[in-house]
Amino acid sequence: MFEFKKNILVIMLLFISTVLFADDILNVFLNKREVELGKLLTLTVEISNDIENLDKFELPKMPDFIVLPKKNYKKGNKNIYTYDITPKNIGFFSIPSIVVYDKDKEITSEPINVKVVKYLQSKKSSYTNKSNENIFVEAYIDINSIYVNQQIYYTLKFSTKFDLASNPTYFLPMFKDFWKSESNTKSGYKLIDGENYFVFEVITKLYPMRDGNVIIDPSNVKVEYLKYDDVDNNEFNKILNAKKIKYSLNSNPVTVRVFPLPEIGKPENFTGAVGKYSIVASVDKKSVVINEPISLTVQIEGNGNINAISEPEIKLPTDMKKYATSVYTKSKGFTNSKRFKSVIIPLIEGEKTIPGVYFSYFDPDSKEYVNIKTDDIKVNISSGVYVKDIEVKQSDVDTQNIDKSIQPIKSDIKLKQYHHMLIKNKMFVFILIPFFMFLIYSLVYRIMVLYMQRDIVKLQKKAGYKKSLKYLHEAYKSMQEENQEKFYFNINLSIRIFLQSCTNSDYINMIKEEIKSNLNKFQISESLVIDIEKILIDCELFQFSYIKTTKLQMEDTYRNTKYIIEELDKVL
C-alpha cells in the first residue's frame, strides 16, 4: 500500500514539474475558441527570458487569419507578445504550433482550434429582431472584415407575411464613418421556411473612411399592414373591414472590422483606390497634322470608391502639350468607371509615342498593391496646316486650337455698372412703408364703411337664429338626461326667441293665440303655424304638469322644432 502511494506521488511530482517546465519556457493563449466572423481574437505568446535566440522568434504563417501585432512587454522573467487576429472565413481553423529554440532544443506549443461562425447562437435572436415572426427586419453587410475605402454592400431587409396597406418607409442610419453611395431598392415575394413572405431590400454601397471597429447604427422601417377580421367569412367584407395597423421596426446594428491600408509597398502614385480596377487609354485619331488636337481618353473601371480616384499622371513628351481634362463618372451595377478626357496638341512632326498611363490600387483579396499600366500609343504627326472647319477671328485662333467648346471673348462690352446684391439694400423696406400704410388705411376705411352699412335686421335675425340653436342644443341635452321640465322650457324658448328675432315682436311674453294671429300676418304656411301651435301647447302641457312623456315623444318634439326653425329661417 505504501509502495503504491509512493508511486502515485512520484508520478504527480513528475507531472507538476512538466507543467511548470512548459509554463516557464513557452505558453500560448487564445481569449476565445468560438468567434463571429469579423470579430477580433487576442493571441498571447509568453516566452521565457532564459532561452537563447529570443530575437528570432516569429509567428508561423496563418493564412486563414489577418494578424496584426498589438503589444510586446516584459513581465517578470517572461517576454509577452500579443496579437490581434481576425478570421477571414466561416469554419473550423487551427492556430498552428508555435516553435521556439533553446540551445538547439525545439520547444513547440500545441495547435489551438477555433470555430468561426457567422453569428453566435446567443446573439442571433437580437440580430434578426424577429419581434413578430410575421414581420421582421434585419441588416447585414456582405463582408465583415475590410480595408479602408473598400466597397461593401449594406443591406436592409424587411420581410412580412402580412398584406401591406402602403409601401414601407425606411430610414437608414447616418453612416457617419463611411462614404455613402446611392441606395437601390428591390422588392418581391420569397419563400422563407416554406412560407411566402413579401421581402423589401435596400442596398447601399459604403466605403469606410477610418480603421478600427466601426458600428453601423440600426435602420428603421415603418409599415402599415392590414389586419383582417377572422370571424367574417366573406372575402370582400374581410378586405373592406380590414384594420390598418402601423408598425415600426428597428434593425440590428452591424459591426465592421476595418483594417488600415498597409504602408509597406505603397506605390508613390497611389491615390486611395481600393478594390479591383482596370485601365484603358485610347485616342480619337492616330494620324494628325501639327497643332491638330488629339483627344486622349483614359478610363478606369472597377468596384471601389470611384470618387477617391484623381487623374493619373500622363507623362507626355515635351513636343506635345496637354490641355484641361474633362472628367465623367458613371456607376452601373457593381462597377463604377471614371473617364478622363484630355486634349493633346502635337507641336513637332514625326512618329510620336504617348506613353502608357500608370495606375495603382490596393487589392483587398491578394492584400497587396497592384500597379497597372495602359499600352503605349503611337501617333503619326505630319507637317501641314491644320485647317479649322469654321472661319474665326484672329483673336480666337488660340481658342480654336485648344478646342471648339469655349465661347470667344467679348470685345463690345457696354461699360454699365451692375448693382451689388440689391436684396441687402434696406432702402427697399423704407420705400415700401408708405405703401403698406396706405393699404392698412384703405383696409380700415373699408371695414368702417361695411360696419356703418351693415343690415341691423339681418344681423338681429342671425343672432336670434344662433341663440335659438343654442336653446335647441340645451333641449337635446335635457332630452338625453330625460329632464322633461328643462327640455320643454328650452324648446319653448328656442321657438319664441327665433320668432322674436325675425319679426321684431315680443314673442317671449305672448300667449299662443297671439302668436298664431301674429304669424298669420306673414307668408307662413298654415301647416307650419299649426305645427308651431302644437309644439307650444305641448310645452305648456308638459313643462309644469305631472304627466310624464316618453323619450320617444321628446325626440319627436325636438325633430319638429328643428324643422320649424329651419323652415322659418327660409320664409322670414
Partner: protein, 244 residues
C-alpha cells in the same frame, strides 16, 4: 403719373454705386493683351477693374476666358459663376459655365436639380428684387384703391399682380437661398479633401480645380465643404477655395 416716375427715378438714383467705371481705352488694352496671348496682363487689367468696384458680367466673362487660357481652371470657373449670377440669360456665359463645370468633373444633374438650375436662369437676383418690389407697390396701390372705390378694374389688377407676385417671390426665395444663404465657393486648384481638419490626415477624395462646393462651416484655416451635386463632404484648406 410723371410725379410717380420721378419718384422712382429718384429712388433708383439713390442706390449707392461706388465704382470707377473703366474707360474704353482700358478695356481695349486688356483685349489687346488677350489677343496677343499675354493672358497675365489681360488678367491684371480685368482684376483691377473689379478691384475698383466695377461690377459687370462681361468683365467677369472675359476674365474667366483669360484665366482659362492661362490654364487656371479654378479662377476661370469662379469668374464665370460670378458672370452667370449677374447675367443668367446670356447664352455665351451659360455655355462657358457648362463647359468649365464639365472640366472640373461636376457630375450630371438629376431632373429635379436640372429644373431648379433652369429656373434660376430666368432672371438675376437683382432683377427679381426690383420686380418683386414694384409688384408689391402696385399690389398695395391697387388693393388700396379697390377698398376705397370698389371698382372691378382694380380688383382684376390686384389678382393679376398677386399671381405674378407669388411667382416672382417664389423665384426670389429660390435664388436668394442659393446665392445668399448657401455659401457657394469654387475650388481653385486640384486638392485632396480630408476626413478631418488635420494636416497629416489622409485625403478622403480629390476634387478638381473649378468644382463648385458649398461651405458648411469654418475651423481656423480649414473649411468644411460639400460637393454641390453629389453631396460628398470633407475638410479642405481655406486658401484652396474662394467664395462666389
Amino acid at each position: 403719373m410723371n410725379k410717380v416716375l420721378i419718384i422712382f427715378l429718384l429712388f433708383f438714383s439713390l442706390i449707392p454705386i461706388y465704382a470707377n467705371v473703366p474707360t474704353q481705352e482700358q478695356l481695349s488694352q486688356s483685349l489687346e493683351s488677350y489677343q496677343n496671348g499675354v493672358y497675365e496682363n489681360s488678367i491684371k487689367e480685368y482684376e483691377l477693374m473689379i478691384l475698383n468696384g466695377f461690377n459687370n458680367p462681361y468683365i467677369y466673362y472675359n476674365l474667366s476666358n483669360s484665366y482659362y487660357r492661362n490654364n487656371d481652371i479654378g479662377r476661370a470657373s469662379l469668374n464665370i459663376e460670378r458672370a452667370l449670377r449677374l447675367a443668367p440669360r446670356d447664352k455665351d456665359i451659360q455655355y462657358n459655365r457648362n463647359f468649365i463645370a464639365q472640366l472640373s468633373g461636376e457630375p450630371e444633374q438629376n431632373i429635379a436639380e436640372h429644373i431648379v438650375s433652369k429656373l434660376q436662369l430666368i432672371l438675376s437676383l437683382n432683377e427679381l428684387v426690383i420686380i418683386v418690389f414694384l409688384l408689391t407697390i402696385i399690389l398695395c396701390i391697387s388693393i388700396g384703391i379697390y377698398f376705397l372705390k370698389q371698382q372691378r378694374f382694380f380688383l382684376n389688377i390686384s389678382i393679376i399682380c398677386l399671381v405674378l407676385f407669388f411667382l416672382n417671390a417664389g423665384l426670389l426665395c429660390l435664388k436668394a437661398y442659393n446665392e445668399v444663404i448657401l455659401e457657394e465657393a469654387i475650388v481653385l486648384s486640384d486638392t485632396q479633401v480630408k476626413n478631418k481638419p488635420i494636416k497629416n490626415e489622409d485625403g478622403a477624395f480629390s476634387v478638381l480645380a473649378g468644382r463648385k462646393v458649398i461651405v458648411l462651416s469654418e475651423l481656423g484655416r480649414w473649411v468644411n465643404i460639400k460637393l454641390s451635386v453629389d453631396g460628398f463632404s470633407g475638410w479642405i484648406d481655406k486658401n484652396s477655395i474662394e467664395k462666389i
